[in-house]
Symmetry: C2
Subunit: 337 residues, 2 copies
Amino acid sequence: MLSVAASRLGFKTVIFEPGGDCPASHVANYHHKADYDDEAALKAFAQAADVITYEFENIPTSALDIVEAITPVRPGRTALRVSQDRLTEKAFLADLGLAVAPYAAVDDEIDLTEAVAEIGTPAILKTRRFGYDGKGQARLKGPEDIAQAFADMNGAPAILEGFVKFDYEVSVIGARGLNGDFASFTPGENVHKDGILDTTTVPSRLSVQAMHEAQGMAARILEKLDYVGVMGVELFVTKQGLVVNEIAPRVHNSGHWTQNGCAIDQFEQHIRAVAGWPLGDGTHHTNVVMTNLIGDDVSKVPDLAQDSANAIHLYGKSEVKAGRKMGHVNRVTGPAG
Amino acid sequence: MLSVAASRLGFKTVIFEPGGDCPASHVANYHHKADYDDEAALKAFAQAADVITYEFENIPTSALDIVEAITPVRPGRTALRVSQDRLTEKAFLADLGLAVAPYAAVDDEIDLTEAVAEIGTPAILKTRRFGYDGKGQARLKGPEDIAQAFADMNGAPAILEGFVKFDYEVSVIGARGLNGDFASFTPGENVHKDGILDTTTVPSRLSVQAMHEAQGMAARILEKLDYVGVMGVELFVTKQGLVVNEIAPRVHNSGHWTQNGCAIDQFEQHIRAVAGWPLGDGTHHTNVVMTNLIGDDVSKVPDLAQDSANAIHLYGKSEVKAGRKMGHVNRVTGPAG
């Protein structure tokens, strides 16, 4: 979707991706199919590009070192370093004075026992790195779950997070330009199912004041990271105010609705930012409900396609797997405002 | 833009285009760069595809014969045959009982003299084949222009068309599915400059009744041609009613606004039709003004990009030329209705 947005602005795209037949390769000028430790391929890739960006935050540092020596990588390393490690991310957000869930580092079972005593249960144990869509996570209902939860981490450094009692969750899809300008899309309201985003509804139930507060929090995060590009900021809406759940240094699933709600969508916004173009202001012109198509949900497409209000987006993934995001539907529900 | 729409529905695309570095190749899986008389390349192309479509009506018949023997080509040959020849097209429309401009075949200068006597001036002489965007045309203000106009045709078979006194022009972007279903986008109002489309505004000034009449005319044309895909139908709005200007058996420049005004745009509508999917209903959710970026107009892009209401679409053409369509801007002007 980033390649498509880039093509819309007249850019050509070159993809680096170890897997063959990846969705981006279907809509790009060239696909370097090589491993992240293939130095020659990384250099050829970097030399072919004027600017490099990514949509996956777990790129090995060594690969980034090689390409970054040749061509600018945006967003930069700070944001990646912070968001690749849940513990670093939480500390960063707390240092900014933003509310986060109570948390503690867990390197061994003793740490976990102490953390449970401090934070209480229910709580959730997560690997510090490489988790997404509910993977690398274990829930603790009480102290009796400590041993199993710790075992689930397979020895990886972890973080225990307390549960936040929230009314609902919203996402702010923020963007910061090369010149430091900030813009944010209208916040959307997220519903998760089995740890995976199910729907995002725009607009959310946020009051205008809370919406501005949420957007201001995103602005502070991006500014502090000297960020260039689009970032997803997930916020819990609680009786005590907004609590940052997590940040993702990339276009975000909860911003997919922008494809049918805005003149400039999150993908184009990201390309504009990394290419040094002016940003769109992020105001939606149309209300949208985005629903993910996970695994077998793709079998609903023939029915969904019967309704003209449904904009269907399929990713061209070659295989359907349980829990795999196969596409999404943006349902246009009426004019904004 | 067709490749991008296809990718959105999860399809992969293969392009056949004699030129190198063509815009479609930037967003396609594979580009067969070969001439239209390269039989082996045509066969390899056809074998790689489940269905073939086109966005250019002057494909040599011999090339179509080769690919059609292997893979279905949609829209089919009838529509191409009719629209490749302005004389055949006019006769087809008149036979359907639709109003067209007065016309006469012109094979030599005597024909032209007789046609001018019959139709009067001002009139316009056009080559029967291969003309577009004002190319292959000569205007006659009076009988004194006959010799020059005839010379301008370079001996090509031509057609003289009388001028139609019209208030404005509209386009109906119609679509017909594999199952015979018809759908039409909200008609847009066109303004031309120097023989090239300048802007399309949606909605047009058409009354609801005239809009339905225009859509009904398009439905009859597509039905009669047993058409599958999207077709552009240009209509003059006159005091005496609607007059068909011309038809184009493909996605049409005057339908580019649909990218930002509809959940399902004309490009996806065309892909849906040729792939046998259900059609979108064509109702717009957002008002749009589309403006073409011709030649040096691309230098306005940095300014246009400052305004978030402007959705910019650039085609990635490698060279700017006077009169060349380099892109377009869809300006979102408010909610429909």
